[in-house]
């Protein structure tokens, strides 16, 4: 377990929250095995073995045969840090429960299907760096107005304006709080650009949000 982390007890991520991605996938989401587009936030966990920090090296994953996997990808999200126990709160009140904001990166294997939980692709050791720090909630007036950029070796590869999220921060906090009681220090990664960014061994990745900071990590295996 990685003791060096800004996460307390839980990191829950929201997939398929990019409105443009949902539109692009709509026809395939009307076919098997999905049959209809999601009606609820699509959620997954990055468990405690994945939690890591700004500056940490990201291990290049190995396949079951012991060889290096052929490809890895990264997504970045605003991380909403819960400030106090959050149980069944309304969308109107939800932002009052935020303690701060940070940046979450999710390194994973390329995702072929959203049908089953992706344990193989998303639970790699150290694959969820969070940081560089937690910025107090009162420093951010409107979290849905932020943009997340991803750069690889200094070149910007992705920019996601959170105004393009299917569900905003307050709605997600409220919906989640009716599924599970959230505790202080737990983090919600609220949305990733639909297209994850390919990375290679030795690459330096910067995930940045203006006003929050730059989360920098380097891929191992070089």
């Amino acid at each position: 377990m990685n003791e060096k982390t800004l996460v307390t007890s839980k990191l829950v991520c929201v997939a398929l929250n990019d409105r443009a991605q949902l539109a692009a996938l709509e026809s395939s989401f009307n076919e098997a095995p999905y049959h209809k587009p999601p009606t609820q936030p699509v959620l997954y966990y990055k468990p405690r073995n994945t939690w890591s920090l700004n500056g940490a090296e990201i291990e290049w994953a190995k396949a079951f045969d012991g060889n290096d996997v052929p490809a890895m990808v990264v997504g970045a999200s605003l991380g909403v840090v819960i400030g106090k126990e959050t149980c069944r709160v309304s969308q109107q009140d939800a932002l009052d429960y935020v303690g701060g904001y940070t940046v979450v990166a999710d390194y994973s294997l390329p995702e072929q299907s959203y049908y089953r939980p992706d344990i193989k692709g998303k639970c790699l050791d150290g694959s969820a760096p969070v940081g560089p720090e937690i910025v107090a909630a009162d420093k951010i007036t409107n979290p849905d107005a932020l943009s997340v950029t991803l750069s690889v070796n200094g070149e910007q590869k992705s920019r996601f304006a959170l105004s393009g999220m299917q569900r905003g921060v307050a709605e997600l906090i409220s919906t989640l709080s009716y599924i599970m009681t959230l505790q202080p220090g737990e983090i919600i990664a609220v949305g990733f650009a639909g297209d994850r960014v390919a990375v290679g061994k030795g690459d330096r990745v910067d995930a940045a949000i203006d006003g929050i900071g730059i989360l920098s990590n380097t891929l191992g295996g070089a």
Partner: protein
């Protein structure tokens, strides 16, 4: 030896339970109280819960019951400590649903850190075994990361315990009778021998992906025979030689009280 966590007279205690049901705190204090006493409040037995892995469709007959072919690779999903509750504690039925069912499961509790563990060495990493009831709300299933968090990550819907039995006291967990009774009537009757992916396989599989740590748990899936439950129902999940876990179903309003 069995191990549990309880509240007694306002004190939270880690206890050991001997073969003749005598209770001793880990500090050595003998407690003059019976195991079935109402004075005991049972807490989830893992003191520092880590990642909870749960198996779907891991018994061939249950996979058939849910109209699925038996999987070629384990279907694993993750749960967190918000779902845990103890023996003889309430679990809630959400309002306005049609079908909530229990899932009586053998749980392997990880006792030491490991990565790339071989199947033949896997049981060295198990501290002990307990029982859980991995409730599901079928109305909330959607075909995205199925079974999705709305189905499987709800507060109170993973009762566990009452205790952990040391792995050394259970040399063969692959042939244990597993039953569930609702209001005294047996509704599920299976055996861990019908598990598709057994504990050593699952430890090898998971540790090929990630590091397992003490306090992580693997809930190994449930056999055929699930029925709907209503507030007021009393569910007892029993695995032979491990323990019997009792849960009372309450309404969402009763569970959340003033937060409802």
């Amino acid at each position: 030896m069995r191990h549990a966590r309880i509240i007694l007279d306002g004190r939270e205690l880690d206890i050991d339970i001997s073969a003749d049901d005598r209770i001793t705190t880990t500090e050595g204090e003998v407690l003059e109280v019976a195991l079935d006493s109402d004075a005991l409040t049972w807490l989830p037995p893992v003191k520092a819960p880590g990642t909870i892995f749960a198996l779907g469709l891991n018994y061939a007959d249950h996979a058939t019951e849910l109209a699925f072919e038996a999987p070629k690779e384990p279907l694993i999903f993750i749960k967190h400590a918000n779902t845990l509750t103890g023996h003889k504690q309430p679990s809630y039925r959400p309002d306005n649903i049609e079908f909530q069912h229990y899932e009586c499961e053998l749980v392997a509790v990880i006792g030491k850190t490991g990565k790339n563990i071989r199947r033949e060495d896997a049981l060295e990493y198990v501290a002990g075994y307990t029982v859980c009831n991995d409730f599901a709300i079928r109305d909330y299933l959607e075909n995205y990361y199925r079974p999705n968090l709305r189905v499987k990550s709800r507060d109170s819907l993973l009762p566990m315990g009452p205790w952990i039995v040391d792995a050394a006291d259970l040399p063969n967990v692959n042939d244990l009778r597993l039953t569930t009774a609702v209001n005294g009537k047996i509704t599920q009757d299976g055996s861990t021998r019908d598990m598709i992916f057994d504990v050593p396989f699952l430890i090898e599989y998971l540790s090929n992906i990630m590091t397992l740590n003490p306090g992580d748990m693997i809930a190994t899936g449930t056999p055929h025979g699930v029925v709907d439950l209503q507030p007021g129902d009393r569910v007892i999940c029993t695995i032979e030689d491990v323990c019997a876990l009792e849960t009372e179903i309450v309404s969402e309003q009763a569970y959340y009280g003033e937060k409802y």
